[in-house]
């Protein structure tokens, strides 16, 4: 079975899907925060995608399609349901978070270690963590993120903005804590 992917290449499911394996696993681990659960999630994603490959529409974005399956699968797990319940997904267009007590970021970043960034990402709500990972790590366009998360591009922009603001706020509080 072969399809045309958005870049114009043709390939079997394996040829298209396996190059995404490491990225999908990293994303799954960030979502689940657990190696065994991440492996279950990735394996289930690949099996679902393989079964649904015949319905995959030619000319659409294969990467976004795979990430969407992974994320939808995650949302049906216990951890995913818990993540959904802890924060309403409809609150994107509400007023943004209170303004930050920001220190100059150049000073902040000079002190921030890799571990602090990772810890901060872990502490973010899942819907903030995933959109930052899709944008900053996977370098997806807003349109791809919209396709992956199943939300309008305008919501991608507002959610990403709130996610980054929350991240900066958490980093700032960590720095203040470290200086006390």
């Amino acid at each position: 079975m072969a399809v045309v992917d958005p870049s114009g290449d043709t390939g079997s499911f394996e040829e298209l899907a396996m190059p995404l394996f490491a990225s999908l696993y990293n994303f799954a681990h960030w979502l689940t925060q657990d190696r065994a659960q991440a492996e279950d999630l990735v394996q289930e994603t690949y099996m679902k995608a393989l079964r649904g490959f015949s319905s995959y529409r030619q000319g659409t974005n294969f990467r976004a399609w795979m990430y969407r399956i992974l994320r939808n699968t995650f949302l049906t797990t216990q951890a995913g349901l818990k993540a959904c319940a802890s924060l309403s997904l409809d609150s994107d267009d509400e007023a943004t978070a209170p303004s930050l007590h920001e220190t100059p970021e150049a000073v902040l970043l000079a002190r921030v270690e890799r571990e602090t960034i990772q810890k901060t990402l872990e502490e973010l709500p899942v819907k903030f963590r995933e959109i930052i990972l899709l944008s900053d790590l996977e370098e997806m366009t807003y349109l791809e993120i919209s396709d992956t998360l199943g939300i309008p591009v305008g919501t991608v922009m507002s959610r990403l903005s709130r996610a980054r603001k929350a991240m900066r706020q958490l980093l700032a509080s960590k720095l203040q804590g470290a200086l006390r």
């Binding site: 394996e14 696993y25 960030w30 990735v42 970021e105 960034i117 900053d136």
Partner: protein
């Protein structure tokens, strides 16, 4: 437009999602407003740091192979095919593909592992406190790791060499603790990483492997159940000489 409104556009700016008109307007504002320019720089740096920090988890080779096997199409039994030359050609093709994939997987895993170690090296040197034990005395640095690592290692006597031991710290790579030692030669600082050589770790060739990764020179070898990696911006002979000193340490 106020600074607050311009700052609302900074996320789209750093994601390259601004329209040409917005981009022109924003860049003009950033040239004139140092506060917003500083904010933009901070956000760009945060995005870069996040990108590096977020590439954190790697699947094991066993898991990758398990999934790969599960998604491979079931092949027809060989006796169901009448024309044996075609069978042979297909068989050869499959073997070559598998060999190619295996080599590619090994190469990709090695590149990823080296890139991660280079990141660790750079992050350590950029840190305000690069080492947890600060001493040029190997008899101080080595005992410091006792109880912190599930293995031990030897450090070289550097009295008659151009290298100086700066200190060491415990680090983590592929979920396992290891030692990171910082050495100095002239104005260059080099890291020597030491980890347990586990089968699931990214593969390296047997013996000493010398390569360049992101313009850093590296040398890798395995010995007595431990994996050693030397990384630095010093010349290849300098990196190799430090590797030799470590290999001859008693």
């Amino acid at each position: 437009m106020t600074c607050e409104l311009w700052r609302d556009k900074l996320d789209a700016y750093l994601d390259s999602e601004c329209s040409p008109e917005e981009l022109a307007g924003l860049e003009e504002h950033l040239r004139a407003c140092s506060a917003c320019a500083s904010e933009a720089l901070g956000r760009v740096r945060l995005k870069r740091v996040t990108q590096a920090a977020a590439m954190r988890y790697s699947p094991s080779r066993e898991f990758r192979l398990r999934v790969k096997k599960a998604i491979q199409p079931k092949r027809r039994p060989i006796w169901a095919v009448a024309r044996m030359p075609e069978v042979a050609a297909v068989g050869l093709g499959v073997i070559l593909l598998a060999l190619g994939l295996t080599l590619w997987v090994r190469h990709a895993a090695r590149e990823r592992a080296l890139a991660e170690l280079v990141d660790l090296h750079v992050a350590t040197l950029a840190s305000a406190n690069p080492v947890d034990v600060v001493s040029s005395d190997r008899h101080t640095v080595k005992p410091w790791f006792q109880g912190k690592l599930p293995f031990t290692f030897n450090l070289p006597d550097l009295q008659n060499s151009a290298y100086k031991l700066i200190g060491g710290r415990v680090t983590y790579f592929e979920h396992s603790p290891g030692a990171q030692l910082i050495f100095q030669i002239r104005s260059h600082q080099l890291s020597v990483f030491i980890f347990q050589d586990r089968p699931e770790m990214a593969p390296v060739s047997v013996g000493v492997t010398v390569s360049r990764e992101l313009a850093f020179n590296t040398e890798i070898w395995s010995e007595a159940g431990l994996r050693y990696v030397v990384i630095g911006d010093a010349s290849p002979p300098d990196v190799h000489e430090l590797g030799e000193l470590m290999r001859n340490a008693r």
